[in-house]
């Protein structure tokens, strides 16, 4: 069964460094999302992406964050200058085209630790 994959599974970085988190969504899906979950807290929406552009972003998704779909398969989240509070589990999710398909399928996550 197709699934969303994410790399790396764990990333440790120093404050101020740039990180790129990678995701490969399910191949026939057209909507892509990033969420994050700080330890012990709720899963929070960061950004949605469709047709090669951001369709919506949350207040968390400030200028330090960017997303890109550099080719037909990868979907990346970049944090330009990491802060301690960016430490969290980052999840990528994807969804088929609209119509009757609303299920979002999540990847296994990347645990980002900022020291």
């Amino acid at each position: 069964e197709p699934e969303v994959t994410q790399t790396p599974s764990h990333q440790v970085t120093q404050m101020g460094q740039e990180v790129i988190l990678r995701c490969v969504p399910i191949s026939n899906h057209l909507y892509f999302y990033w969420y994050r979950q700080i330890l012990g807290q709720k899963v929070e929406f960061l950004v949605s992406f469709y047709n090669n552009e951001i369709s919506e972003k949350s207040e968390i998704f400030d200028d330090q964050f960017s997303v890109e779909r550099p080719d037909g398969s990868n979907f990346t989240l970049k944090i330009r200058s990491t802060k301690l509070e960016d430490s969290a589990m980052y999840f990528c999710a994807s969804r088929k085209d609209g119509g009757s398909s609303y299920e979002q399928y999540f990847g296994p996550g990347t645990r980002l630790t900022v020291t």
């Binding site: 929406f45 609303y102 979002q104």
Partner: protein, 111 residues
């Protein structure tokens, strides 16, 4: 905010018993989805119920939705040790499909 809020926060049951957890939300929704998360792992999609549906089944899972009360319930029948996990409800709206998650119910199934 459309955030779902689960109740109870934690649930401990014996293997073979049923587990019921509830989710409440604040504004009108398009769909409500339930996810399972094993400790420190990813979110596994369990079931989606649309706003015009009242009940849905999938294997040992039964989901109900009451839009008048803005609430949903997830029932896991004949629980197994492998059902030990956190369970989250997530809602989406009519104009966007970003998910708003609740804080989750932690279910422990004792052997």
């Amino acid at each position: 905010s459309q955030q779902g809020e689960e109740d109870p926060q934690a649930l401990s049951i014996q293997e073979g018993e049923n587990a019921t957890m509830n989710c409440s939300y604040k504004t009108s929704i398009n769909n409500l989805q339930w996810y399972r998360q094993n400790s420190g792992r990813g979110l596994v999609h369990l079931i989606l119920i649309r706003s015009n549906e009242r009940e849905k089944h999938s294997g040992r899972l039964r989901v109900t939705l009451d839009t008048s009360k803005k609430s949903s319930s997830l029932l896991i029948t004949a629980s197994r040790a492998a059902d030990t996990a956190s369970y989250f409800c997530a809602t989406d709206g009519f104009n966007d499909y970003k998910l708003s998650f609740g804080a989750g119910t932690t279910v422990t199934v004792r052997a």
